[in-house]
């Protein structure tokens, strides 16, 4: 399976009479895009704006951030299971508009705290385009198309979320189709076809197990996560890493503030780093497993066992990196999977995100399992905040949130998109003093 990413760096992104890519200048006909998105009859209206790095602008609350990508004509499906019928992602050429993103804003539903109910369990997250918070975010240096879908009031909440997801991938593909047939600035080729080739003998085989959802808070029936499926009752599934990078995986209606973004499924930092090591012949990249954290004990035991077995016996891995979904409970599944892998002789490294509100290491040490001793700790930014930069524009899903965002004096790190991340993208670390 070979995936070629055709990278088109974008230096200008602006609205215009026609949607087209001219070199590195991306022009978008917002009216045409609006008509396309409004084909979804659940939506009453859609607001569209383009924001750039340094703009005194605040956006919230963000549903998801997606990198604009589209397959070359005839090369395969875009976001299969969501936007197109099921077909394998991960092969052929995919055009990427580097330096841009689609940020979809959730208007929430009336009620709840501050006139707004956020997604399950999660804090609401903000995209900040200027000042120190933007520099601390993985998304502050991108040019964003901000999409604010307004659903009809009678549409059920799960269906609203489904409509937001659909809008996010439609806008992403719509933009990137401008690159079809165009010569990219650079290309990257991803394949593991040489995994058995000479010169790899003796190299350690390394796999990755990633939780793509946490069943701690349930799942909507029409929620798209893996090839469009909602992962209910899903056993761990071995994937080719290219599938993961190429639209087979999007984030669930997640805990945004804790950091999982579709952008970092498309640019998965761990998968990309394992590819880097594979190409450098330091390791052989053995494969990836998508799994979930469980809501019930028997499910946990079943999933952890199956994931460990795949890594050991199918991938024949010597080592594995395991990451979790956002929140505390998914640590259980991650640690148990790691314990089983270690028992099978597969060395593990895992990533925790400590939630210790007292900032004491004692409270951060969630579990102690012999052999599970390689632990990276990403901070959840409980002790990081910035004075809110002055903004001229606030883009929000409803007037209550707009007022709230406009009057913020402080931006907690946990609420800024792209500061914390459970996919390996974050540079924020909890350091023990």
């Amino acid at each position: 399976m070979t995936l070629t990413l055709a990278n088109h760096p974008i230096t200008e992104f602006f609205a215009g009479p026609k949607t087209l890519l001219d070199g590195s200048r991306l022009q978008v006909d917002l009216e045409e895009l609006r008509r396309y998105l409004l084909e979804d009859q659940r939506l009453e209206s859609v607001a569209l704006e383009i924001v750039s790095p340094g703009d005194p602008c605040r956006v919230g609350y963000v549903f998801d951030i997606v990198e604009p990508r589209a397959k070359e004509t005839g090369a395969g499906p875009d976001f299969p299971g969501i936007l197109t019928p099921i077909a394998s992602a991960g092969q052929g050429t995919t055009h990427v508009l580097r330096g841009t993103a689609v940020a979809v804003v959730d208007g929430g539903q009336p009620g709840g705290e501050r006139g707004y109910t956020s997604r399950r369990g999660g804090g609401a997250k903000i995209l900040e385009m200027s000042g120190p918070p933007s520099q601390a975010s993985s998304f502050g240096n991108l040019r964003h198309l901000v999409v604010v879908p307004h659903p009809h009031p009678e549409v059920a909440r799960h269906s609203v979320l489904n409509a937001l997801r659909l809008a996010s991938v439609k806008a992403s593909v719509y933009l990137a189709r401008t690159a079809q047939g165009k010569t990219p600035g650079s290309t990257q080729v991803f394949d593991l076809n040489g995994a058995g080739e000479d010169g790899r003998k003796g190299l350690p085989r390394v796999a990755y197990i990633g939780q793509v959802h946490g069943h701690q808070h349930g799942t909507e029936v029409d929620e798209h996560i893996l090839y469009g499926g909602n992962t209910r009752g899903m056993l761990p599934v071995p994937l080719h890493p290219n599938e993961w990078l190429d639209g087979a995986v999007v984030v669930s209606y997640s805990w945004g503030a804790r950091g999982l973004d579709t952008y970092f499924h498309q640019n998965h930092p761990i998968i990309l780093d394992l590819y880097r090591l594979h190409e450098a012949k330091e390791i052989t990249f053995a494969g990836v497993v998508a799994t979930t954290s469980s809501g019930q004990l028997d499910e946990l035991n079943r999933n952890c066992m199956v994931a460990a077995q795949i890594v050991k016996h199918t991938f024949k891995a010597d080592g594995v990196i395991i990451t979790k979904y956002a929140g505390g409970a998914p640590h259980s599944d991650m640690f148990e999977t790691a314990r089983l892998c270690e028992d099978l002789g597969v060395k593990t490294a895992i990533m925790v995100s400590d939630t210790a509100p007292d900032r004491r290491a004692e409270s951060a040490a969630l579990m102690n399992i012999p052999g599970v001793d390689a632990v990276v700790n990403v901070s959840e930014a409980a002790d990081i905040s910035w004075p809110a930069p002055a903004v001229e524009t606030v883009i929000a899903g409803n007037p209550e949130v707009e007022t709230l965002l406009a009057n913020l004096t402080e931006l907690p790190g946990v609420s800024v998109c792209g500061v914390t991340n459970n996919q390996g993208a974050s540079r924020l670390q909890s350091i023990m003093y």
Binding site: G121, P204, V206, Q216, G218, P269, I270, L272, D273, L274, L277, I283, G295, G319, V320, I321, T323, G328, A329, K347, T348, A349, I350, M351, D354, T355, A356, P357, D358, R359, R360, A361, E362, S363, A364, A365, N368, D373, A374, V375, V376, N377, S379, A381, A382, D383, I384, G413, N421, Q423, G424, A425, S426, R427, L428, Q429, S430, I431, M432, Y433
Partner: protein
């Protein structure tokens, strides 16, 4: 800078174990390793007072000795207290930690000591004071004093104290978020490769054993026992009268169930942000099984269901806080004559 130095009888040159009962003695100026300490602290620093105390005396009279050292530091108008280095000497290390912590807490004056990782003083005091890792080789005295002096000077000068490994002190177990050069992904792959190659690597959280809880003896006769239900799943009466938060709860509640046959949906809610609350709100017995226990009461399988259940939220709770709430709950239940407890979680 004016410095007070605390030594035990051995390093104070008074004698060995036979002098361990020595009450504190005050000497002006340096004694024993104090001279090297003074040199290491640099020009302008003077050990103005040295306190020498026997190891046993300090162990048996902790409050008196810490009060006395605090008073001496105050009277000497010192800016720094140095205790030790203590290396592996356990009683010495424990006393050094105690006097440093007392001076720091009561006077707000920095205090520093040094000992080896095995010294019990480390676990007792590492979270409250700076303890330089001396190792256990006493012949390294000069080097250890130099490291102690360097960090001591920083403490007095309000300099930025770096990470434990860089500065040579035992971690105080405090977490700080910092932006670092490498992404978490890069750190993960690096750590895994090191581990697979058998090279040294360091976990980013403490890999620390959590106290094992010994299994309690069995309840001799459940048919005579009073049984209480305690949950950390956050079930509370509608309206959440104790305002138990959905995470980081500092409080717990006790809610009456006397004469209640079963818990009715709608009369309870869940204060817990860590799971899908709906199944419990639909039927609270899924978390607090009053119905089953009433039946067991009737069947004579348990003596009596305690007339209240206790509830809090376990979600993201710091250990120290959980321990406190556990102690408070246990005290209330023991006071009420409860014989056994069923703990339910989520």
């Amino acid at each position: 800078m004016r410095v007070v130095h605390y030594l035990n009888q051995f390093f104070g040159g008074v004698g060995g174990e036979e002098q361990a009962g020595l009450p504190p003695e005050i000497r002006p100026g340096t004694v024993g390793p104090g001279r090297l300490l003074e040199q290491a602290l640099g020009d302008g620093s003077h050990v103005v007072t040295t306190i020498i105390c026997g190891d046993n005396y300090a162990a048996e009279n902790v409050q008196e000795v810490t009060a006395m050292v605090t008073q001496q530091v105050k009277e000497a108008q010192a800016e720094l207290l140095v205790a030790g280095p203590c290396f592996q000497a356990g009683r010495y290390g424990t006393a050094a930690g105690a006097v440093c912590a007392a001076v720091q807490d009561n006077l707000g004056i920095p205090a520093i000591t040094a000992m080896s990782g095995e010294n019990p003083g480390v676990d007792l005091y590492r979270e409250s004071i700076y303890i330089v890792d001396s190792g256990d080789d006493v012949s390294r005295m000069r080097g250890v004093l130099a490291e102690t002096a360097r960090l001591g000077n920083k403490l007095v000068g309000q300099g930025v104290i770096g990470r434990p490994a860089d500065e040579g002190y035992f971690s105080q177990g405090k977490l700080r978020s910092e932006f670092v050069e490498n992404t978490a992904a890069r750190r993960l792959t690096g750590m895994l490769l090191s581990k697979m190659r058998g090279e040294a690597f360091e976990a980013e959280v403490p890999i620390k054993s959590i106290d094992a809880v010994p299994a309690p003896p069995p309840v001799p006769d459940m048919s005579r026992a009073t049984v209480a239900i305690v949950t950390d799943g956050g079930l509370v009466p509608k309206g959440n009268p104790d305002r138990i938060p959905r995470a980081f709860a500092q409080v717990w509640g006790a809610y009456p169930i006397e004469d209640i046959e079963s818990l009715r949906a709608g009369e309870y809610e869940v204060a817990h942000g860590g799971y899908d609350n709906r199944p419990v709100e639909q039927d609270p017995h899924r978390l607090v099984p009053v119905d089953v226990l009433r039946q067991m009461e009737r069947d004579g399988l348990v003596g009596k269901l305690h007339p209240e259940f206790l509830s809090t939220t376990g979600n993201s709770n710091p250990l120290e806080n959980s321990r406190r709430m556990g102690r408070e709950m246990a005290a209330r239940l023991i006071e009420a004559g409860v014989d056994s407890v069923i703990l339910t979680s989520t």
